[in-house]
């Protein structure tokens, strides 16, 4: 329920999904800026008007105090009182105010001239001590205060004092202020979108740069890169990510084209042998023995081609993510001993000792035939690269997380600059030697492919002149 309503809200929120990013940013900037301006001006207005009211109230209570003091201290100084009530008001330029004194019977004893016509006594409320708004006969705004005052230092009577201040000045001020606020809002309404759009455009131009670069890139211009200097952090990150992707693409493309060239080269040699031998043989009549020799040689080359094609197709399958492997419980000692049995003769002929070290009854969940092929390829490689007197150790170690199968030799080793490439197709550390030994240069690539299919990896460590250790790491998970 909650998620559905959130969903609906977000759909409404992103209703303008199709519109451009700069439009969205502009709308957001405008909305936010306008909101802030409205809030700020509103607060200022409210504060100003509250302040004005406070001043007025202070003025009112001042007046009350002055008159009250006069009445208390000098109740007989009628002229002083009159001056305070009648003349003071007339002397003030801005704030018209009225004072009226009513005796205990409610009769007006003294009042500012004009007050009766403007503000008759009955208009004042009876609540004491608290200022209140008041409208005059002419609909003018006043603020008024009613207070009891004692007459004489020893009170002889309690009069009522009515004070009112004309608010016209304040209202005018507030009106002017409102006019200002409205014009500020009007200006903001126009300028916010314009400025917002400029900001958005400025922010977006980096994105446009990235787009431009992406558009320029084709298979022949994979070396193009975005220069992320001067980019804001988030976009610099995007640019670096983009560049990283290009690096990988360029690398992959390079490999692919090298690979095509390698295939052509690998095919060229046997095909050339077949063609040449057949051509030379047919150039003139030969003995049966010679023909037999030629046909045999051609057959050997054809077998080599078949194996190459088989390996290439196999590799292509390992790289296809849709390829499924048939996992089963594989008994590791049995598998390793099987491989040892197969290669033992080869190792012995080359003067290499061969040992298997594997925990009893350790197992893994893998495609048996593929795993066997991977181990066999590593062993074959080890034999080819280990001189007489050396040794090869085949071991397996299973723990709850993964299975590690290691093929370690005391062979010639691999140099540090060759090490990252040895798993590549057709990569040969020493082209001349490997060619002679009949390898296709695909063995380790196939090992890597098989490990990929199992969600595992190949770890190769080597020291030149001391030996190589290749480890197959298979994570222990039933399915992947």
């Amino acid at each position: 329920m909650l998620s559905r309503s959130t969903d609906k809200a977000s759909r409404r929120f992103y209703g303008w999904r199709g519109s451009s990013l700069s439009f969205r940013l502009t709308a957001w900037y405008t909305g936010a800026a306008f909101f802030l301006i409205v809030v700020a001006t509103g607060i200022l207005y409210v504060a100003l008007s509250a302040n004005l009211d406070r001043n007025t109230d202070l003025f009112l209570s001042d007046k009350v105090h002055v008159v009250a003091a006069l009445l208390r201290d000098r109740p007989d100084d009628w002229s002083g009182l009159r001056e305070e009530v009648e003349l003071e008001s007339a002397a003030r330029r801005y704030e018209n105010f009225y004072i009226r004194l009513l005796d205990q019977r409610g009769t007006a004893r003294l009042a500012t001239p004009g007050m009766d016509s403007e503000l008759p006594p009955a208009r004042f409320s009876v609540s004491l001590g608290r200022p209140f708004p008041l409208r005059s006969q002419n609909r003018r705004a006043f603020r008024a205060l009613v207070e009891r005052v004692e007459v004489g230092s020893v009170p002889t009577a309690t009069w009522t004092m009515q004070v009112a201040v004309d608010l016209t000045q304040e209202d005018d001020l507030l009106a002017r202020y409102r006019a200002w606020l409205w014009s500020i809002l009007a200006i903001a309404l126009v300028s916010c979108p314009l400025i917002g759009y400029q900001i958005a455009r400025h922010g977006i131009h980096f994105v446009r740069d990235v787009t431009e670069t992406a558009r320029r890139i084709g298979s022949t211009t994979l070396n193009e890169r975005i220069q992320p200097e001067g980019y804001p952090d988030e976009l610099a990150d995007l640019a670096r990510t983009f560049n990283g992707m290009l690096d990988r693409l360029e690398e992959a493309f390079g490999r692919l084209s090298r690979f095509s060239a390698d295939i052509a080269h690998e095919l060229r040699t046997p095909v050339n042998n077949i063609r040449g031998e057949a051509e030379v043989a047919l150039a003139r009549a030969r003995s049966v023995e010679e023909y037999r020799e030629v046909v045999g040689s051609c057959l050997e080359e054809a077998v080599r081609l078949s194996e190459l094609i088989g390996s290439l197709l196999f590799l292509a399958r390992t790289e296809n993510p849709a390829t499924h492997i048939k996992r089963e419980r594989v008994d590791l000692p049995e598998l390793l001993n099987g491989v040892r049995d197969y290669y033992e003769g080869s190792a012995a002929e080359n003067g290499i000792s061969f040992s298997v070290n594997c925990t009893e009854s350790s197992t893994t969940n893998a495609d048996r035939a593929l795993l066997q092929r991977a181990v066999a390829n590593l062993v074959s490689n080890a034999i080819a690269n280990t001189p007489a007197g050396g040794s090869i150790a085949l071991s397996a170690h299973a723990d709850p997380v993964q299975v590690r199968i290691e093929v370690a030799d005391t062979g010639v080793g691999i140099s540090a600059q060759d090490l990252p490439n040895v798993l590549d197709r057709f990569y040969r550390v020493d082209p001349a030697r490997s060619q002679a030994s009949g390898g296709t240069g695909l063995g380790l690539a196939i090992v890597k492919g098989i490990m990929n299919l199992h969600g595992g990896r190949v770890e190769i460590a080597s020291t030149l002149g001391e030996g190589t250790s290749a480890v197959l790491v298979i994570p222990n998970q039933a399915t992947r």
């Binding site: 057959l299 081609l305 197709l313 003769g345 035939a369 092929r373």
Partner: protein
């Protein structure tokens, strides 16, 4: 034994006919699917070797029509397509075997023989080839009454060759049968193992029994 070879590639058809004829079979060749279907319906064959990519009807269609018509002649598919679903499809339609190009002719021959005979190779307890005698039960091999000192795998290898004496066995087949190595590459290891076997079986004697057939494999026969 009559075999129908259905193959539109002329060279392939020619060498298949030649090779199979020399191996003692009577071979007819059809170059497209319709012709093949027609011949197979009219004449009795012991085996049909069927290419999948054919003009007219493809191999799958030919097979399914044959089976619909109640023809139960064994069928061996030949194909350049090596995808597992293709294989499965072939077997579902009722194919008896499946061979991917390029293949070794010896491999084809071995499969053809097993399909036609439907009987396993010699299962005698004691196998004899010339003065070589292999006692399968007691795990003992002797030559000219001299006991041969063989490892377990060497014994298996020798038994395999002897049981199918006269038949050239490919390195792949040998690696598969003796060492359970199920892949094509690196079969030169088989050469090493055969060489070691020879050093015990043939080297001490004048008459050599194990013969290398260049580019194909190994055969054991009396008059090498």
């Amino acid at each position: 034994m009559k075999i129908l070879v259905v193959e539109d590639e002329q060279k392939t058809a020619r060498y298949l006919k030649k090779g199979l004829s020399e191996a003692g079979f009577v071979v007819d060749v059809a170059a497209d699917g319709r012709q093949a279907l027609h011949i197979a319906m009219e004449l009795p064959f012991d085996l049909i070797i069927l290419d999948i990519m054919l003009p007219g009807l493809d191999g799958w269609q030919v097979l399914s029509r044959l089976r619909e018509a109640g023809q139960q002649t064994p069928v061996l598919f030949l194909t350049a397509r090596d995808a597992v679903p293709d294989r499965v499809k072939g077997f579902q339609l009722g194919a008896d075997d499946y061979l991917v190009k390029p293949f070794a002719f010896s491999e084809l021959l071995a499969r053809v023989r097993s399909l036609v005979r439907r009987v396993p190779a010699r299962q005698d307890d004691v196998v004899r080839v010339g003065d070589l005698e292999i006692d399968v039960i007691r795990h003992r091999a002797t030559r000219a009454n001299h006991r041969l000192d063989l490892t377990a795998k060497e014994f298996l290898l020798l038994s395999l060759l002897a049981r199918r004496a006269g038949e050239v066995l490919s390195r792949t087949l040998i690696a598969e049968t003796v060492w359970d190595m199920n892949f094509d590459s690196d079969t030169n290891v088989v050469d090493v193992n055969v060489r070691r076997l020879r050093s015990k079986v043939d080297d001490p004697f004048d008459r050599k029994l194990i013969r290398t057939v260049r580019g194909v494999g190994y055969v054991i026969e009396v008059d090498g």
